[in-house]
């Protein structure tokens, strides 16, 4: 298979450092060589993640790659973003796996955990020997997560956890669940180990989207946890929201990877496909679609790169992440839909990637703050008024 080339219309490669480019190109080759050959089968058969690749992903250093210490690679945010782009070029499920492990699980332990919690979990998680999941969403509370009903009550110096989380990526695979729950002093995060009495994690079946990723429910019935299970430094909704800012940042890059995968495929296809005496690519309507895709992807790259540099300089505001998550996922979905369309009937089978990316991106549009929720965040930033 020809290696993926991506788009670099504005010569952004000149703006990247050697280690940023080497990181990107290394992950790019790995995805082509090791991931793409197996994903179709996983998606067709049972909708599962290729767990056999986890040791390789860990060996590459992709878990918590922008965290420092505890066995993490300590990449800057540009390299991290490029890595997320390459993973999602493979499949949104692959990028989700890395996002959940790194941004939603390792990040809160790194940022809010006790030294003991960090020592216990981070090296194992970086090495892929322990998998994490992030339990925020509940059946009745998604966008309005602060309404959560799951609660933790103090008992004998420890805690008792009750409630249900739903739509939890890697729930049934996880060795540790980061669970956000109401307590007497607001929302707090808890580390719940797999196998704790009263904790179950059945999978959600019948997904059309993100089939290369496991999604579960988490049930907690009188789950007893030691006092040390709580993340000491995460108080209130700021804890989970700061994790989401990290993950959303990676998604903004990842979406570009999915978009470029679709774009590259459809350009090639439209050159080969002969309709009415000539290549599909030589029709004006096709070229208009391709020109739009090309432009939107390039604009998305500029947004992502600028925000990445600001993040590295410590000047990031979470509303910037809202803008790039919202924009880049939106354009990626449009690119995927138009690619699917140009592929005609071929576009609905899994020998082509477009429809897989398209249906995946429906999830990506919904999770980590829906498109509309990010619209409202930007709206509030502009007007100073919180809209409902």
């Amino acid at each position: 298979m020809a290696d993926f080339a991506g788009i670099d219309f504005l010569l952004l490669d000149e703006d990247y450092s050697d280690e940023e480019l080497i990181s990107r190109d290394t992950v790019r080759s790995w995805v082509s060589d090791r991931f793409l050959p197996v994903i179709q089968e996983h998606i067709r058969k049972d909708g599962s993640f290729p767990m056999e690749l986890v040791p390789e992903i860990a060996e590459l250093g992709l878990f918590g790659a922008n965290l420092h210490g505890y066995g993490c690679a300590g990449m800057n945010n540009v390299a991290y973003g490029l890595v997320m782009q390459e993973l999602e070029r493979g499949d949104s499920g692959l990028r989700s796996f890395a996002s959940v492990q790194g941004s939603l699980c390792m990040y809160p332990i790194h940022a809010f955990g006790s030294e003991e919690q960090k020592q216990e979990w981070l090296p194992k998680m970086a090495a892929g020997q322990a998998i994490g999941c992030f339990g925020l969403t509940e059946p009745d509370f998604g966008s309005y997560a602060q309404g959560m009903r799951t609660k933790a009550e103090r008992k004998n110096g420890g805690w008792v956890l009750n409630g249900t989380k739903r739509w939890i990526t890697n729930g049934s695979l996880a060795h540790v669940a980061i669970v956000w729950a109401q307590t007497e002093d607001g929302v707090r995060g808890f580390l719940v180990p797999r196998g704790a009495a009263g904790f179950e994690a059945p999978d959600i079946k019948g997904k059309f989207s993100l089939r290369g990723s496991v999604t579960s429910e988490l049930y907690f019935k009188d789950v007893e946890l030691p006092g040390g299970a709580m993340l000491p430094d995460a108080k209130g909704m700021k804890g989970p929201l700061s994790c989401l800012t990290q993950a959303r940042y990676g998604i903004a890059w990842g979406a570009l990877g999915a978009a470029m995968a679709c774009f590259e495929e459809v350009v090639e296809y439209s050159k080969q496909r002969i309709v009415q005496g000539g290549p599909l690519a030589a029709k004006q309507l096709t070229q208009a679609k391709l020109a739009d895709m090309f432009t939107e992807i390039t604009k998305g790259q500029l947004l992502a790169l600028r925000v990445a540099r600001l993040k590295d300089e410590g000047k990031l505001h979470h509303t910037m992440v809202s803008m790039i998550k919202r924009n880049n996922v939106d354009i990626a979905l449009t690119v995927a839909r138009n690619s699917r369309d140009l592929l005609g009937a071929n576009g609905i089978v899994d020998d082509y990637q477009a429809m897989r990316h398209m249906v995946n991106l429906e999830t990506v549009r919904t999770y980590e703050g829906t498109h509309d929720i990010h619209t409202l965040i930007l709206g509030e930033h502009i007007t100073g008024m919180r809209a409902l």
């Binding site: 020809a2 290696d3 080339a5 050697d18 280690e19 480019l21 080497i22 990181s23 190109d25 290394t26 080759s29 790995w30 060996e59 590459l60 250093g61 992709l62 790659a65 690679a73 300590g74 990449m75 390299a79 890595v83 080969q272 496909r273 002969i274 071929n346």
Partner: protein, 260 residues
């Protein structure tokens, strides 16, 4: 033990190549480069020896600024040090000029083993490795597909035409030019890539190495007369359609021509 791995950065295998203005080489602007595939096997072989015990792996390359990316990649994969001959005077060197430059590095480093790829993906000449061996006075073997080390010796299997294998003993220090597929090449890890930033990368000129007269178009004994794309012949037919359609029309053609 010290191992010197010589590697070349070549146009990416999927790069679209055009001939340059004066028809003597390809246009290099705007194309992606990568480490010559044969050289990655040489590097992997060196890293395996390093992993198995005490060895220092030094990588060396000749070429413009872009070559630092190839060297940093090698350092990210686990090499310890890099030497980069970055000198405009080397532009247009022939194989002997390159071999003399690499031999000068080898003389400075005095490695116990030099590993190189059998050929380069772009030049395809297979000329440099035996020349380097000769210049530094080391025995060498080419087309190496397996190695087994013992005290003072490396037993290598060489691939011969028609799939036969030749087994030869090469006393160390020696130079081996490896065939592709010798091993499974590792990926650089992100941690390795970060660590590579701090590893030494020495930049040298041809004059530093005492080979200024041997390099560049001036020093070259072989001059490239012309590079061109062969003209498209008549009679080729490109089949299109789905895989199944292509296969069945190909089968029909073969039958029509009475080849089956």
């Amino acid at each position: 033990m010290k191992i010197l791995v010589c590697l070349k950065q070549v146009p990416h295998q999927d790069a679209r190549l055009d001939v340059n203005g004066d028809g003597t080489w390809i246009k290099e602007d705007g194309i992606k480069f990568e480490i010559n595939s044969y050289d990655t096997y040489a590097l992997e072989e060196a890293l395996r020896i390093k992993d198995a015990g005490e060895a220092e792996v030094v990588v060396a390359s000749i070429g413009p600024d872009r070559v630092t990316q190839a060297l940093r990649t090698a350092l990210g994969m686990g090499a310890d040090r890099a030497v980069h001959v970055n000198d405009a005077a080397c532009q247009g060197s022939d194989a002997l000029g390159i071999a003399k430059t690499l031999a000068a590095i080898a003389k400075e480093e005095s490695p116990d083993l030099i590993l190189m790829g059998l050929m380069s993906d772009d030049g395809n000449a297979s000329a440099v490795p035996p020349m380097v061996a000769e210049l530094v006075g080391m025995p060498s073997a080419t087309a190496v597909v397996a190695t087994e080390r013992s005290e003072g010796n490396i037993r290598v299997e060489r691939e011969l035409e028609g799939g036969a294998v030749e087994v030869v003993d090469v006393p160390t220090p020696c130079l081996l030019a490896v065939q592709s597929g010798l091993n499974q090449v590792r990926y650089a890890s992100l941690k390795g890539i970060m660590a590579a930033k701090k590893k030494p990368l020495d930049v040298k000129t041809a004059a530093d190495l005492g080979v200024a007269d041997a390099v560049g178009t001036a020093g070259a004994k072989v001059k490239i007369e012309k590079i061109y794309q062969p003209l498209r012949g008549e009679g080729a037919e490109i089949l299109s359609g789905s895989t199944d359609e292509i296969v069945s029309s190909l089968m029909n053609k073969i039958k029509e021509l009475g080849l089956l």
